[in-house]
Symmetry: C2
Subunit: 233 residues, 2 copies
Amino acid sequence: MILEPLLPKFDSVFSIDCVIFGFDEGELKILLIERNIQPFKDWWALPGYLVEENESLDVAAERILYELTGLRDIFMEQFYTFGDVDRHPQGRVVTVAYYAMIRLNGTKELKPVTSIARKAVWYPVKDLPKLAFDHSKIFAKGFIKIRNKISYQPIAFELLPEKFTLTQLQHLYEIILNATLDKRNFRKKMLNYGILKELDEKQKGVSYRAAKLYKFDRRKYARLFQKELSFNK
Amino acid sequence: MILEPLLPKFDSVFSIDCVIFGFDEGELKILLIERNIQPFKDWWALPGYLVEENESLDVAAERILYELTGLRDIFMEQFYTFGDVDRHPQGRVVTVAYYAMIRLNGTKELKPVTSIARKAVWYPVKDLPKLAFDHSKIFAKGFIKIRNKISYQPIAFELLPEKFTLTQLQHLYEIILNATLDKRNFRKKMLNYGILKELDEKQKGVSYRAAKLYKFDRRKYARLFQKELSFNK
DNA sequence: ATGCTTAGTGTTACAAATACACTTTATATT
DNA sequence: AATATAAAGTGTATTTGTAACACTAAGCAT
């Protein structure tokens, strides 16, 4: 039997960082934690931590988000990997960044289940504090990512409450795209997608004419994105 | 002076893998190497290797591609990071995948400058061999990436020789999109982009009517992609 | 009853995408 | 020289989507 050369065993460290978008009180927000450990103790940071040895990246992302914020069952998507040599003071740590857009029911409490984070809070993206590591850069790239995504997929509803008005939806688009949109054209386009269901219900508690409520039809939405774009023939 | 707790020093290993697309003899190809080292010695693989300690990911990608194939100054873009627990037999190795589309002048010789790769060759994507590690999966994701990209950005010219005919361009689109396109509409659309320059030259050596040659105008191309998409107002 | 504030609505103009088939031209063959 | 061949090259009508644009309707507060 031929002896194979002995190979060194690799034992690596890398991390996950999460950019979680929410929409509340007419503002786009992201989740930040206050770090309770070194390095960057007491700094604001994206929820992020080291991946464990026997964990795939996707699984790690879910676990880490849960442990640092208490949020569960959030579908996140990987969007970029940051690997500058000096991005981590303890050595070479590459971090894989994930993003998600979620509905922030007001009720969902943020409660870190580990002491790594002192607390987790929703922070308006307009007014972010200085962040630990290269997290400002990571956030910026994540923001560009959802801006692009929303331009070709009507995914904004992930951020809205179950029932919403068309004006709320439009405001959300305007914030993410950083542009003002024409009301009539916006409504026409959205309704044309055929993924909104008009409800027999109206907004309540407003001191003016109440708007109709809508909800998204996820089945139709899924069907919509089976057909592909451009150059169909 | 307050003593900070001593932090462990991280010392990690991760890799880069490159999916390099070329177009030759009417076929879409990618670059593969034949591995000359364990693990997966003698297997076909994507050009890929470990990142060095003091190297950013982008720089590592360039170096690794060069060392394994002899190709230089190729602009690559990161597209996904693969981190399944068992993807590498020597332990936990996360790999950051890059892609590029390049012009394959016929002349550019492929010559690994390290013995890690025995050789590097262009392989038709239609007929890839079994690949080392999870490289088949990486390739598949890279292919989807360029398919999507080409659908909204006329980047296909990266793959073509300096001078090309519209029919060649169309064939390339058809191969990447896996669809047949209408000749008149295709031409109209391409010419409307305003990034093609008609030359005073014709195809040579064909046994039928020679087609006009075109080349891409990179200046106009760059300008085209400063203006953004969708929902402009 | 009046005022205020937002909801809700339609048309026209322009641009882009699609469907579709014949003529022209360079070369090769006889 | 005549003919065959193979791909180049070209235009129009239809449909679809995008863009610009301003007033009336409804509900609540006073």
